[in-house]
């Protein structure tokens, strides 16, 4: 019997048992769509995190340290001069962890996270100005501040006018607004939410409030040992100032881990999806076994009029393949829509169509159909035609 004929006869049977066929392919549909959804979402999440990485770039190091002794001398910019001599460091920017301070305007109390840093911060984080200018060297001796766009908006709402040039009272000191930063998308690898920060020069802040530099961002060279060298140097340097705890974030290393995690996670999600699909496949097998025992008479007749075992085997295998093919196809479509919905409304990032999860889900569903169809079809082909024909 030709391929086309087998296909036709197999589909005829599937479509004449609509409800049962639908229930059988429902399992495959759910399994396939879970594979598509899980892998699509994991890939999109991964691509999104890579985007954040791209922004901060390779060889980016963030260092924080914590000093628990209260009598310790605050760390100031001059203490870090020796870092400039280290050739594996391309550039670095120290800063103080942002500290919540409040501005009182009219009756409003506006939170201003204040961080002291140096003019190099602009270049390091690729900051752009909406108005005014960023900090410069001279600001070391003046109380100048540069404000994030959200903070600026909140204050401007109260003062009803442009914030540039105004003077704000923070921690009993007066600071002049010299610039407003342009809006920037949040990036979880940056130490600040750029829209919600107020920068002042570290020198000014330290002399005003006796805070200490707590952190720095460094751009290091491509040298594979660069990170270890920098880490060692900083630890030695800062321990002279009796600082105790260090934490380092090294983008290249974290990215490597992220890649590893993604591979593992995708594999894990695929395994979960596969379980759903295998359950669906068992559903197909169940339906096919029922179908075989119900159609013994037909099988006996087909054998009597000249079908050989292969013909019977093919007929039933094709039925289960068609079932899971349709289940897989619809499952992929449902999966695409479901992941679009989840990505857009729950993860709130841009959806992108990825071919890989769809191909994987579809391929795997058809294979499941083939696999779980073999046993019922084999049983059908081994039936004794005399017993089959005697069935009533």
């Amino acid at each position: 019997m030709s391929f086309y004929q087998i296909l036709k006869q197999a589909s005829l049977n599937i479509f004449s048992n609509k409800l049962r066929s639908f229930l059988a392919l429902l399992g495959v549909l759910i399994g396939t769509s879970s594979i598509v959804v899980l892998i699509t979402i994991s890939e999109i999440t991964y691509i999104e995190s890579l985007k954040s990485f791209k922004e901060i770039g390779e060889n980016y190091v963030k260092m924080d340290y914590f000093d628990e002794s209260s009598e310790a001398e605050p760390l100031v910019l001059d203490d870090l001069v020796s870092l400039k001599k280290l050739d594996v460091i391309e550039k670095f920017v120290p800063y103080t962890r942002s500290h919540n301070t409040f501005v009182h305007i009219n009756r409003a109390k506006i939170n201003v996270p204040l961080s002291g840093t140096t003019p190099e911060m602009k270049e390091m984080l690729n900051l752009e100005m909406q108005e005014g200018r960023f900090l410069n060297i001279i600001d070391a001796n003046y109380n100048s501040i540069v404000i994030g766009s959200k903070v600026a908006q909140k204050i401007e709402k109260e003062i009803a006018g442009s914030i540039l040039g105004t003077v704000l009272k923070l921690n009993n000191q007066y600071y002049k607004v010299v610039g407003v930063l342009k809006d920037k998308k949040r990036n979880r690898y940056l130490p600040f939410d750029i829209n919600n920060i107020v920068f002042t020069h570290a020198n000014a802040l330290i002399s005003n409030t006796k805070t200490s530099l707590t952190s720095m961002i460094l751009k290091i060279s491509d040298d594979p040992d660069a990170f270890e060298k920098v880490k060692k140097h900083i630890v030695i340097l800062l321990q002279q100032n009796s600082s105790k705890y260090f934490s380092f974030f090294y983008s290249s290393e974290v990215k490597k881990n992220l890649e590893k995690m993604n591979t593992m996670f995708s594999g894990f999600l695929f395994a979960i999806g596969s379980i759903a699909l295998i359950v669906g496949g068992i559903g197909v097998m169940n339906v096919m076994l029922v179908s075989v025992s119900e159609r013994k008479k037909e099988i006996g007749l087909r054998m009597a009029i000249g079908a050989n075992q292969m013909d019977i085997l093919n007929l039933f295998i094709f039925e289960s393949i068609i079932l899971s093919f349709i289940g897989g196809l619809v499952g992929v479509i449902v999966g695409i829509f479901a992941s679009y919905f989840i990505v857009t409304y729950f993860l709130k990032v841009a959806f992108m169509f990825l071919l890989f999860p769809c191909t994987l889900g579809f391929l795997f569903s058809t294979l499941t159909g083939l696999f779980f169809g073999i046993y019922p079809a084999y049983r059908a082909s081994k039936l004794n035609p005399i017993n089959c024909l005697r069935e009533s």
Partner: protein, 222 residues
């Protein structure tokens, strides 16, 4: 003239648990091309077993069976399916038409297993349906046909692949006597055209009308 069907000292023994049941014992039988034979006997006499052996659905436990001079003993299942497909047509008491297929599709089925294309098979099926008097019912499903009409479709299906041998197992058993007579006379017409017909029946009036009657009792030819 050599026999079309040659059964030599055939016994068929079934084992069910510890019990041994002898369905046929030492049966020898020759049927020539163009004969019209009826097999009669009470239920359990072995007439169905012998029909199954002739139809290559079953094989003898002991003894030889030659169809058209070929000893089928050592043939593979696929080879047997091929001979069934080319030389033997079955007609059953319960008709056994596929319920979702119309008359033409049912009749086409043996041809499709022989590798005919859809269109070749259809035109052949239609001409055979014309021959058995079913030209107006090409596209009727079995549940739209009467018993006699269904049996005519089933006969068409047995004929369509140009089988030399028609094996009819109680073909009138589910029909009223008038419709049954129509079927018998159709089989007689086919016999006159040269088909070898082997008819299993327990209806003596039908058997007595046949040129040759083989009577079986307790697994033996009487």
């Amino acid at each position: 003239m050599s026999s079309l069907i040659k059964i030599q000292n055939v016994s068929k023994i079934y084992k069910q648990g510890n019990e041994i049941f002898k369905a046929l014992s030492n049966v020898s039988l020759d049927i020539h091309s163009g004969e019209f034979v009826s097999l009669v006997g009470t239920s359990g006499s072995g007439k169905s077993t012998i029909l199954n052996i002739i139809g290559l659905l079953d094989s003898p436990t002991i003894g030889e069976y030659l169809v058209d001079g070929i000893n089928v003993k050592k043939l593979s299942k696929n080879k047997l399916a091929k001979i069934r497909s080319n030389s033997i047509g079955f007609v059953f008491q319960q008709f056994i038409l596929l319920p979702k297929y119309n008359a033409v599709q049912n009749v086409c089925l043996p041809l499709l297993y022989q590798g005919y294309t859809q269109s070749q098979a259809q035109s052949k099926a239609k001409s055979i349906l014309d021959k058995v008097g079913m030209s107006s019912k090409y596209f009727s499903k079995p549940n739209e046909l009467s018993g006699g009409q269904q049996q005519r479709v089933a006969i068409a299906r047995a004929l369509v692949a140009s089988a030399k041998i028609i094996l009819a197992d109680e073909p009138t058993g589910s029909l009223d006597s008038k419709t049954g007579d129509g079927i018998i006379s159709l089989l007689k017409d086919l016999n006159e055209e040269g088909k070898t017909i082997i008819l299993v029946t327990h209806d003596n009036s039908i058997a007595n009308n046949c040129p040759r009657v083989i009577k079986l009792n307790d697994g033996r030819v009487v």
